[in-house]
C-alpha cells in the first residue's frame, strides 16, 4: 500500500514537473512571453474592435497567461490612443484593463513611427523573452497604401483610417514599411494578422527576418475578427504554440457569423521562406513565358471582390509545372513552409467556386502585362516591383 502511495506521489510529481517544464524559465526581469494586440481601429471596425478588446479581457482566466503578459494598443478614434495591459483580477474571475501609457491625441495608427513606438513600449513596459504581435485592422494583401494614379483601386494595404493628424481619410501603411517597424533581432515568435487577405507570399516574405511564424488569411476576415476569448490561451499554452488548435478554433468559429465567403487561416514558418523563394525562382525562371500568359481567371482566388491581387500559389504554379521536373518540388516545399492551414469545406453565396484541394495556404501575384495598365480599378505592377519577393523571385 505504502509502495503504491509512493508510486502515485512520484507519478503526480513527475506529471506536474512535465507540465511546468513546457514553459520556459524567463530571463530575470522579463516574462517568458508578451502578446501585443495592435488595434488600428480608427475606422469602420471601431465597434468590432471594442468587442475584441472586451473578449480578450473577459476571456482571461487564472490559468490563461501562465506568467505571460497581454498588452493592447487601443486606438478606436481620433482621440488619444492608449497602451493597455490586461491583467487577471482574482476578485472578478476575469481580466481587467490597466492603462500603461496614453499617446498624444491626433497621432496616426498607420504612421510607422507610431507603430514602432508601440512595439518599443511593449519591450519596455512588458519585457519578455518572446513576443507575439497581432496586427488588427483593414488590409488588402500586399497592395500599395497610396492611391494609384488614374485608378479606383482602394488604398488599404494595412490600416485605412479616418482622417487624423494630417493623414487623409483612408490612409494606410505599405506592408514592407510595416515589417520595418519591428526592430531587427527582436525575439518575435509570431506576427499574426487579424486583417483581410494578408496571406500572400509577398507579405510573409517581407516579414521573413522579423518573426519565426507568420499568420494570416488568404481571404477576407469578418469584422468580428478573432474570437479572442477562445484563442488567447493558445498563445500562452507553451513556448511552441499549438498552431493547429489556434487555427482550428478560429476557422471553426466562423459559422457563428453567417458569412458569405471562405474562412481560412494559414501559419507560415518564416525560416523556410528562403527555400520557397529559391523554388519559386526556379519555376519562374523555367516557365516565365507561360506564367505571363496563362488565363488567371481559371486559377483559384479568394478575395471576394472585383480586385484580385493574388491567386492560390500552389494552384498557379501547378498550372505551369504539372508534369515537369519542378512540380513535386514546388508542392513539397509549399507543404514544408506552410506549417498549418485550414479552410472551411465549402464557400457560400457569391464567393468564387472554392476547391479545397487547391488551397495551398498562400496566394501570389503574377505580374502579367495587364497589371501594368491603368484600368479603372488596378495598376498593381509598378508597386509590386518594389517588393522584396519580386526582386528575389521575378527579377
Amino acid at each position: 500500500m505504502k509502495k503504491l502511495l509512493f508510486a502515485a506521489i512520484t507519478f503526480a510529481l513527475l506529471s506536474c514537473c512535465k507540465e511546468k517544464s513546457e514553459l520556459p524559465t524567463p530571463t530575470p526581469g522579463k516574462v517568458w512571453r508578451t502578446y501585443l494586440l495592435y488595434l488600428a481601429g480608427n475606422n469602420t471596425l471601431a465597434s468590432s474592435m471594442h468587442i475584441d478588446a472586451l473578449e480578450l479581457t473577459n476571456g482571461l482566466t487564472d490559468t490563461t497567461l501562465n506568467g505571460g503578459r497581454v498588452l493592447i494598443y487601443y486606438s478606436l478614434s481620433a482621440n488619444a490612443a492608449q497602451l493597455i495591459e490586461v491583467q487577471y483580477d482574482p476578485s472578478k474571475g476575469h481580466g481587467v484593463q490597466k492603462v500603461l501609457k496614453t499617446y498624444p491625441a491626433g497621432q496616426s495608427d498607420v504612421d510607422p513611427n507610431v507603430i514602432r513606438q508601440a512595439i518599443v513600449d511593449m519591450t519596455e513596459y512588458a519585457p519578455a523573452d518572446s513576443y507575439v504581435i497581432d496586427f488588427s485592422s483593414h488590409a488588402l494583401g500586399w497592395t500599395p497604401a497610396v492611391n494609384i494614379t488614374g485608378t479606383l483601386a482602394p488604398k488599404r494595404a494595412f490600416g485605412s483610417q479616418y482622417p487624423v493628424g494630417g493623414y487623409p481619410s483612408g490612409a494606410a501603411i505599405d506592408v514592407d514599411m510595416l515589417a520595418r517597424t519591428i526592430p531587427d533581432g527582436l525575439p518575435v515568435e509570431a506576427v499574426l494578422f487579424d486583417a483581410c487577405a494578408v496571406g500572400c507570399v509577398e507579405v510573409a516574405y517581407e516579414f521573413r527576418n522579423k518573426c519565426r511564424y507568420f499568420g494570416a488569411s488568404v481571404a477576407e476576415i469578418p469584422s468580428n475578427g478573432f474570437p479572442y476569448d477562445k484563442i488567447i490561451g493558445y498563445i500562452f499554452d507553451g513556448n511552441a504554440i499549438d498552431w493547429a488548435a489556434f487555427v482550428d478554433t478560429y476557422v471553426e468559429d466562423y459559422p457563428n457569423y453567417n458569412l458569405w465567403h471562405v474562412p481560412t487561416y494559414t501559419i507560415v514558418d518564416c525560416s523556410k521562406l528562403g527555400w520557397l523563394r529559391s523554388v519559386a525562382r526556379a519555376a519562374v525562371s523555367a516557365y516565365r513565358p507561360q506564367l505571363m500568359t496563362i488565363n488567371l481567371d481559371q486559377a483559384q482566388y479568394y478575395f471576394n471582390r472585383s480586385l484580385i491581387f493574388g491567386y492560390d500559389m500552389g494552384d498557379v504554379l501547378s498550372k505551369v509545372t504539372t508534369g515537369g521536373p519542378l512540380d513535386e518540388l514546388v508542392k513539397t516545399t509549399l507543404d514544408e513552409v506552410v506549417v498549418y492551414k485550414r479552410a472551411t469545406e465549402t464557400s457560400n453565396g457569391s464567393a468564387p467556386a472554392f476547391v479545397q484541394a487547391k488551397f495551398s495556404g498562400l496566394t501570389m501575384h503574377v505580374p502579367q502585362d495587364r497589371f501594368d495598365q491603368a484600368t479603372n480599378t488596378v495598376r498593381w505592377n509598378p508597386y509590386y516591383r518594389t517588393l522584396a519577393w519580386y526582386h528575389d523571385v521575378w527579377e
Partner: protein
C-alpha cells in the same frame, strides 16, 4: 577525412562556369590574386583591408551586440542571407567572425544529413541537367540556411544557379564566396604562426587553399590554436600556410 577530400574534389571538379566570376575572371585566379596582393577586389564587392589584421573578438562582439548598431548581428545576417551585395569588408569581418558568438554555431557537430546528401548528389553527377540543378539549388539553399559559411555549398550554389542561367543568384553566391575567402585571407599573412589566417571551421582552411588553386596536404599542430597546413605543391616559395582554429574550440563541448 571524407569532407576534406570531397571539398578538394568539388572545387576542382566543377566545370569552369562554376568557379568563374560571373561573366568575367575565373574565380580561382581572382581569389588567388586577391589573397596574395589584397589589391584586386571586385569593384562591386567589399574592399579587403589593406593590412592583414587579426580579428579582435571583443571589438567584434561589442559591435554586433548593440541593437542600435548598423552591425547588429541579426540585421547583418539577414542582409547576408538576402544576398545583399553592398556588404562591406568590415561587415563581412563582423559577419564571419561574429558567427561563433551565435547559438547556431556548432563547428564540432557532424554535418547535417542534408549537407551530405547535397554533396553526394553532386559527386555522383557533376554534369547535372536543369531539373537536377533546380534540385541542387533547392537542397543547397536549405543547407545554406543551416550552414551559412559552408563554402562548398556556396560554391555549389554558384555553379547550379549559373548552370540554370540565373545570373543574379550566381553573382550573389559568388559574391558571398569571394568575400568570405577575402575575409579569411585578410585576417593575417598566413605565412607565420604569429600571423595566421583565422577560420571558424576546419573545412574553411582547406576550401580557402583550394580556391586559390593550391593543393593542401597534412595539418601539423603549431600551437594550442594554430595549425600549419602544408602544400603538396609549393606556391612559389611558400610550402604551407598557418591557420588559427581558436574559435572552433570556444564551443568545445
Amino acid at each position: 577525412m571524407r569532407p576534406m577530400l570531397l571539398s578538394i574534389m568539388l572545387l576542382f571538379a566543377l566545370p569552369a562556369s562554376s568557379v568563374e566570376a560571373p561573366g568575367t575572371v575565373p574565380a580561382t585566379a581572382q581569389v588567388a590574386a586577391s589573397a596574395t596582393t589584397r589589391a584586386t577586389a571586385s569593384a562591386t564587392a567589399a574592399t579587403p583591408q589593406a593590412t592583414p589584421t587579426a580579428p579582435d573578438n571583443d571589438l567584434i562582439l561589442s559591435e554586433i551586440s548593440s541593437q542600435y548598431s548598423p552591425l547588429y548581428y541579426p540585421a547583418l545576417m539577414a542582409r547576408y542571407r538576402d544576398g545583399d551585395t553592398t556588404l562591406t569588408a568590415h561587415e563581412f569581418v563582423c559577419l564571419y567572425y561574429g558567427y561563433p558568438f551565435q547559438e547556431s554555431y556548432r563547428p564540432l557537430s557532424p554535418a547535417p544529413a542534408a549537407t551530405n546528401d547535397l554533396l553526394d548528389r553532386f559527386a555522383a553527377n557533376i554534369e547535372p541537367d536543369s531539373a537536377q540543378c533546380a534540385e541542387l539549388v533547392s537542397l543547397g539553399e536549405r543547407v545554406f540556411d543551416a550552414e551559412p559559411f559552408n563554402l562548398q555549398v556556396i560554391n555549389l550554389l554558384t555553379f547550379a544557379y549559373g548552370r540554370l542561367g540565373d545570373k543574379k543568384m550566381e553573382r550573389t553566391n559568388y559574391f558571398r564566396l569571394r568575400n568570405v575567402i577575402n575575409t579569411i585571407t585578410s585576417s593575417g599573412t598566413g605565412l607565420a604562426e604569429r600571423s595566421p589566417w583565422h577560420v571558424i571551421y576546419f573545412a574553411n582552411a582547406i576550401e580557402t587553399l583550394t580556391s586559390m588553386g593550391l593543393h593542401p596536404g597534412r595539418r601539423l599542430v603549431a600551437s594550442r590554436t594554430v595549425e600549419y597546413v602544408s602544400l603538396l605543391v609549393r606556391n612559389g616559395p611558400v610550402r604551407g600556410y598557418y591557420f588559427d582554429f581558436g574559435r572552433i574550440y570556444m564551443k568545445k563541448p
